[in-house]
Symmetry: C2
C-alpha cells in the first residue's frame, strides 16, 4: 500500500536524522572541555532568525569562551547594570533547587544603590554538588564583585548544564577581566548564544511602549528546550527595561505575568532544579511606571514574556508541532489550567500529535484524569475552526479527513469547552517524537 511505503520512507528519513544526530552528539561526563557540534535547528524556529533587539540604557553585556565544559563556543555571559537598577526574580519551586538559585532568591529585594551584575554560565548547572555548590557560588560572586566593582549582594549567578559535577568556577573567574573589558551596550544577541545548552537557536524578544509620550524599552533573552514545565522550566530568562519602577511593583508584575506565560508552557512535564527568571529595570529612560502607565507597560512586558515562552516551546526537544490549547467553560480559571496542562503533558496526546492523528479520544482521557471538574457529556472539542466533538460525542458533521488535514499543520490550536462555567486558560506544548527519545536516551546533555 502507498501509505505504508510513505511510512517506510518517513522511517528511513528518521533513521538518517538519527544518524546525523549521533554524529553531532557525543557529550561525555569528562571534565575537560571538548567540542560539540550544534544540533539541527528546530523546524519550528521563528522565521527570520534572532530579532533585532533595542539597546537598553543602563545595561551592558559581554560574553566569553571559558571552557566550562565545551571548547569552541562562548559559555559565560555578564550583564552589568547601572546603579539604581531594580531587580525582580522568579525561580523554580523544585525542592532540590541548585545553589545559584538559592543564592539569587536570597538577594532579590536588596538595596539597588550600587550597580549589579548577572553572570550566567552554560555547560554545568552546579546542581546536586553538595557543599561544593554554594562554595562555588561564593567564589564566583566574590570574584565578580571585586573585578566588576559591584557589591556582593548585587551579583546574581545562574548555571545551566550537567547536574552533579562540581562547577569549575576558577575557569569562569579567570575570564572576568576579559568580560569586563568586553562590555558593550549591543552585546545582548551574543549573550543569548552564550547561555544555550541543548537549544537549537538563541531566543530574544523586545517591545517599545510610549508612556507619557516617551519610549520605554524592554528586551529579553531566554534559553531552554527540555525539562520544561511549570513551575517553571529548565529555563533561564533575563529581561531588561529602562523603565523606572519600584522593586515591589516590578516583582508583583513579574510574578503575575509568569503565571500566564512561563508557567503555562510544557515540553515534557519535567522541571529543572535551576530555573531562573530575572527582570531588571535600570530606570535610565527616566519614565516612571505609575498610575496610567502601569497597564501599557504590563502589556508590553507580557508580550515579551509570552514571545520568549513560545520560543522555548518551539525549541522543545524533537518538537515538530507547536500546539496552543485553549480551555474555556471550566468551573474556574485554575481548573481550566489544570485540564489544559493535563492535555499538554499527556504522552498519549503528544504522540498522537506527532503522528498527525486527530485523536480527540485521548484529549477526553487527559481531561478525565486531570482532576479538573468535568462533565463528559458537556465537553466540546475543536481542532482549529473544526468542531470535532460536542455534548460528549463526536460532532455529527465532523469528518475524520478534516481533522487529519488540520493535523498536518505545524502550528495547531486545540479548543476545549468544558461547558460548565467561565473559567479559561491557554497553555502551550509541543509533540513527543522519536527525536525526543534520541536526544534524551542516547546522550547526556
Amino acid at each position: 500500500m502507498a501509505g505504508k511505503k510513505k511510512k517506510i520512507r518517513k522511517l528511513k528519513q528518521k533513521l538518517k536524522e538519527l544518524r546525523a544526530h549521533l554524529e553531532t552528539s557525543g557529550a561525555t561526563p569528562e571534565a575537560e572541555p571538548r567540542t560539540k557540534k550544534p544540533l539541527p535547528v528546530s523546524p519550528l524556529a521563528p522565521v527570520g532568525g534572532f530579532p533585532n533587539l533595542p539597546e537598553i540604557a543602563g545595561v551592558r553585556f559581554a560574553t566569553v569562551a571559558a571552557g566550562v565544559r565545551y571548547a569552541g563556543r562562548t559559555d559565560v555571559m555578564l550583564a552589568e547594570l547601572a546603579p539604581g537598577s531594580e531587580i525582580a526574580g522568579v525561580f523554580t519551586r523544585s525542592a532540590t533547587r541548585s545553589a545559584p538559585v538559592l543564592d539569587c532568591q536570597d538577594k532579590i529585594g536588596g538595596s539597588a544603590d550600587g550597580g549589579a551584575a548577572i553572570v550566567v554560565n552554560s555547560g554545568n548547572a552546579n546542581a546536586f554538588t553538595g557543599s561544593h555548590g554554594m562554595a562555588s557560588v561564593r567564589e564566583l560572586v566574590s570574584g565578580v564583585s571585586r573585578i566588576v566593582g559591584v557589591p556582593e549582594h548585587r551579583v546574581f549567578t545562574s548555571s545551566t548544564g550537567v547536574i552533579g559535577e562540581p562547577l569549575p568556577h576558577d575557569r569562569i573567574i579567570a575570564k572576568i577581566e576579559d568580560l569586563k573589558a568586553g562590555l558593550s551596550a549591543d552585546g545582548i544577541a551574543a549573550a543569548a548564544r552564550a547561555i544555550m545548552t541543548t537549544d537549537t537557536y538563541p531566543k530574544g524578544a523586545s517591545a517599545t511602549v510610549k508612556i507619557d509620550g516617551k519610549p520605554v524599552k524592554i528586551a529579553g533573552i531566554a534559553k531552554g528546550s527540555g525539562m520544561i514545565a511549570p513551575d517553571m522550566a529548565t529555563m533561564l530568562v533575563y529581561i531588561f527595561t529602562d523603565a523606572k519602577i519600584a522593586q515591589a511593583d516590578l516583582q508583583g508584575m513579574l510574578s503575575q505575568l509568569t503565571d500566564r506565560s512561563f508557567n503555562c508552557i510544557t515540553v515534557d512535564s519535567d522541571t529543572s532544579t535551576s530555573d531562573t527568571l530575572l527582570l531588571a529595570a535600570t530606570g535610565a529612560s527616566g519614565v516612571e511606571i505609575t498610575g496610567d502607565g502601569i497597564a501599557p507597560f504590563r502589556e508590553a512586558l507580557s508580550g515579551v514574556m509570552l514571545d520568549l515562552a513560545h520560543q522555548v516551546v518551539r525549541d522543545g526537544e524533537g518538537a515538530t508541532k507547536f500546539v496552543e490549547i485553549r480551555v474555556t467553560g471550566a468551573a474556574d480559571d485554575a481548573d481550566a489550567k489544570t485540564a489544559g496542562m493535563a492535555i499538554a503533558n499527556s504522552p498519549l496526546v503528544k504522540t498522537a500529535l506527532a503522528g498527525e492523528d486527530p485523536n480527540w479520544g485521548r484529549i477526553v482521557m487527559a481531561i478525565g484524569k486531570s482532576g479538573a471538574q468535568a462533565d463528559r457529556d458537556k465537553l466540546a472539542i475543536r481542532f482549529g475552526d473544526t468542531q470535532v466533538a460536542r455534548d460528549g460525542w463526536v460532532d455529527p458533521d465532523y469528518k475524520e479527513e478534516a481533522g487529519a488535514t488540520y493535523m498536518k499543520q505545524s502550528d495547531l490550536i486545540i479548543g476545549i469547552d468544558m461547558g460548565l462555567g467561565d473559567g479559561a486558560a491557554t497553555v502551550w506544548t509541543c509533540d513527543l517524537t522519536h527525536a525526543y527519545i534520541s536526544i534524551n536516551a542516547d546522550y547526556r546533555s
Copy 2:
C-alpha cells in the same frame, strides 16, 4: 568509533522492528471487523508463558469471536458466577469515565442471591459515546440477564478499545447463546486472551492458601499495556476466589491492596476512562475468611494483585526495562509514593533508562519537582547494590562504569533514601523508548 557503529547497528535493528511493526499494525477507525496481526511479545514477558491457573469452584468462563472490531480473534468473554458470589470493585477515578464503568460502580454491593455474570469485550471502549453509551450498556445487560439467567443488577460489563465510537452491542448480544453453551470451569486462559487489546501477552496469576487446614484458591487475569497510571490504569482485572467472605470485608481488602499494587504502577502517566478491577468470591470452598484467616488470605490476594500489576508494566508499550523504585526515609508514606511516582513518570528519567544511562541527576530533578518534602543534601541514591549518591552529591567511591554496567540489565532496582523520616513506598515503571512513540504516534489502538 566502535560505539557509534554499535549505535548505528542498534538503529538499523530498530528500523527493522519499526517496519515489522508497521506490517503488523494497520488499525483504522472503520466499523467493519478486520484482521490484525499480533504485536511481537514484550521482551519483559514472564518466562514460561501463561501460568497454569487453578479452577475456582463456582465460576465458569466462555469466549467468542463477535467481530466487535477485529475479525479472526476472540473479543468477548463471559464469566458466570454461582448464586451467593460476593463482588467487590475498584474503578478509574477519571471524570470522563465510560458508561460501563458508571454502571458497574452502581451495582457493587447489590444482593448476591441470584447468580452473577461478567461480560467483557475488547475492540471498543464504549467511552465518550454520549447517550449511546449507557443505551448500549442497558441493551447488553438486558440480553445477558435474559439469556444467562441472572438478575440485571448482577450483570457487570466492561469494554476496552477505541474511544468515541458506538459499541456494536448487537454483535455481542447475538453471541450470548454461544457463550452460555460454551461455559466451562477451565476457560480462564482463553478469557485472558479475549480481553487483550495492545497487550502482547495474556496475563494471569494465582495463589492457593490453606486456612483452617483447607485450601482456598485465588486466580486472576488482567489486560493493559498503555495508558497505565493511577488511579488506576488502562486496565481490566478480574480476580476470582472460592473463599467465603462478606462483601464489605472483600471491598475493604481490595481497596487497600489496590493502593499498594495497581495504584503503584505507571507506564506513561495516562489514565484510562475504563479501568475496572472486579474481585468475586464464590464461597464455594466453604472456608469463611474471618479472624486468623484474614491475614493469610490478604497476603495471598496481595501476591496475585502485585503479580498481575507487574505483568501489566512488563507489557508496557515499547518497554525494554522493568524498574522497581524503592523510596525510603521520606517524611511519610504518602510523600514516598509522591516522590516515587514522580521518578516513575518522568520522561527524562524514562528515556535515560531506555538509553542505559545511569543519569542520577534526572532522579534528583524528579524528586525536586514532585512536591514531596526533600532535602537535597540528605538524598541518597542506589542503583541495585551500588551506592551512587549520598549527602547530596555523588558517592566518592562511585564509578560511572559500575552504574553503566548495572543499567544494561532488563530488571532494575533504584533505591532512594530521602534521609528525613520513616515514610516508604515502592512503585514500578518501565522505560520510554522509540517503540512507545511508534505504537502511539503511528496508529490508533
